[in-house]
Symmetry: C2
Subunit: 121 residues, 2 copies
């Protein structure tokens, strides 16, 4: 506070609001994953075990829509997002989810993989 006109140092105003671990609701997680696009994002994020930029994903929608989906995932507590230069990094909140709902994420991922095999190949 005080007289600092440029309120924050670097990447100011670029923090993204995330729900705390205890604020994550199962219904919101399920809703977030009930969209094919978002489920696909989460699957890729789980496969690569690292953070990925938004632009890494080649989604069949405009960037506006893409932004929307990533926000839904973040607000549901499924992914953690932060800026790194101009890029926005996305990481799965594995630890938080595993702590809240042990085994759920793995079951969901394996269910999605199984369905992909069944329908796609």
């Amino acid at each position: 506070m005080g007289g600092v006109s440029t309120t924050a140092p670097a990447t100011a105003g670029r923090d993204l609001p995330h729900p705390a671990r205890t604020e994550i609701r199962l219904e919101a997680v399920l809703h977030a994953l009930s969209d094919p696009m978002r489920l696909q994002i989460v699957r890729e994020l789980a496969a690569e075990r690292d953070e990925l930029t938004c632009s890494h994903f080649d989604l069949p929608v405009t960037k506006s829509t893409s932004t929307h989906h990533f926000r839904v995932l973040r607000e549901a507590g499924v992914v953690r997002q932060c800026y790194r230069g101009t890029a926005k990094m996305n990481g799965l909140r594995r630890e938080d989810l595993d702590d809240l709902f042990p085994g759920l994420l793995d079951s969901l991922l394996s269910a999605a993989a199984r369905q992909a095999v069944r329908l796609g190949g």
Copy 2:
């Protein structure tokens, strides 16, 4: 047609359309369970390991809305419904779901139970 005036024997025209096992989609299941009301229904259905009538559930909505939620669950392949007299019985499609997505249902139920304890107790 034919001579039979009462077209069908009993509970005629009262069959309910269900998706076949192979038509059940993960996204639809997750969407169905992302509603608190429907998640509660499924939890009760899993607790009592028997079929339950619609009226057994004391939901804070009108009967119209209740009918709607049960239909969503049925069309997603989560529950199987049939008539028994005037009552409509609801049963969890455990076998189908376990075959398609092994472990998923249990993970979901346990996640829901865990959250109920965490928030309610």
